[in-house]
């Protein structure tokens, strides 16, 4: 799932759409206005976001509203946090080692 979120966020147009939806749900038109790419392209970007579960579409008659589902994004964030923690531990060990070398201890 985290992979899907990273794929969803891997394109600037899709990040723009996610950013717009961060303020709340919007119609497809509002979420994709003035992004400088053609409508078929926008539709295909939305598909990637929906398949990743990052964007959810609600259909009300002829109006399609989009909103964010935070869960896949939170999973991606958790993954990043784990990597950060891992590297922090690795760097702690390196730092300890260098400290020991400086102090001439075995």
């Amino acid at each position: 799932m985290a992979n899907d979120a990273f794929k969803a966020l891997a394109h600037p147009i899709r990040r723009d759409i996610v950013q717009r939806l961060a303020d709340g749900s919007a119609t497809v038109g509002e979420a994709t206005r003035n992004l400088g790419v053609s409508k078929p392209t926008l539709s295909r970007h939305l598909k990637v976001l929906e398949e990743a579960g990052v964007v959810v579409r609600m259909i009300d008659g002829r109006t399609h509203r989009l909103s964010l589902d935070m869960e896949p994004l939170e999973e991606a964030e958790t993954w990043l946090a784990r990597q950060r923690a891992h590297w922090a531990r690795v760097l702690d060990v390196v730092e300890e080692y260098l400290q020991e070398q400086r102090e001439g201890r075995p």
């Binding site: 053609s38 409508k39 078929p40 392209t41 539709s43």
Partner: protein, 143 residues
């Protein structure tokens, strides 16, 4: 920054068969859409210089339709086909150009496709869309 995409794809078909696939309404409807699962419910071809080519791609998931149209600039069956292109919601000033070159060797034909006049920010997406359309064309020619 480039405004064009250029791609090549070889099909197990004669140049005439591939040329027909680009100019026959019935065949066009089976392959020209930018996602594998999209469809092309409508196509029109008036195969003469200045004649119109027009089609509508449809996303069956949400029913959204994307129409585009152009005019033939060069028709040299079965070697070369050039036409202008643009989406229905855009104005004439955004006209693009699609050039299709067909090189036959033995029992296969290589299509060299050049699509120019594109927004530079969108060339990656056009490559992806054309790859999928050409996948569809390959399937259409194979069956």
């Amino acid at each position: 920054v480039s405004d064009r995409v250029r791609m090549e794809r070889t099909f197990q078909a004669s140049a005439q068969e591939v040329f027909d696939a680009w100019t026959s309404v019935e065949v066009l409807k089976r392959w020209w859409h930018a996602e594998h699962e999209w469809e092309t419910p409508h196509a029109e071809v008036d195969l003469r210089l200045g004649g119109a080519i027009r089609l509508i791609m449809r996303n069956p998931e949400d029913g959204a339709e994307y129409g585009g149209r152009g005019e033939f600039v060069t028709i040299e069956a079965p070697r070369r086909l050039v036409f202008t292109w643009g989406w229905d919601y855009e104005d004439e000033s955004k006209r693009q150009l699609i050039e299709v070159e067909l090189i036959e060797h033995g029992d296969s034909t290589t299509v060299v496709l050049t699509h120019s006049g594109l927004p530079a920010t969108e060339t990656d997406e056009y490559v992806d869309g054309w790859q999928k359309s050409l996948d569809n064309l390959e399937a259409a020619l194979g069956s």
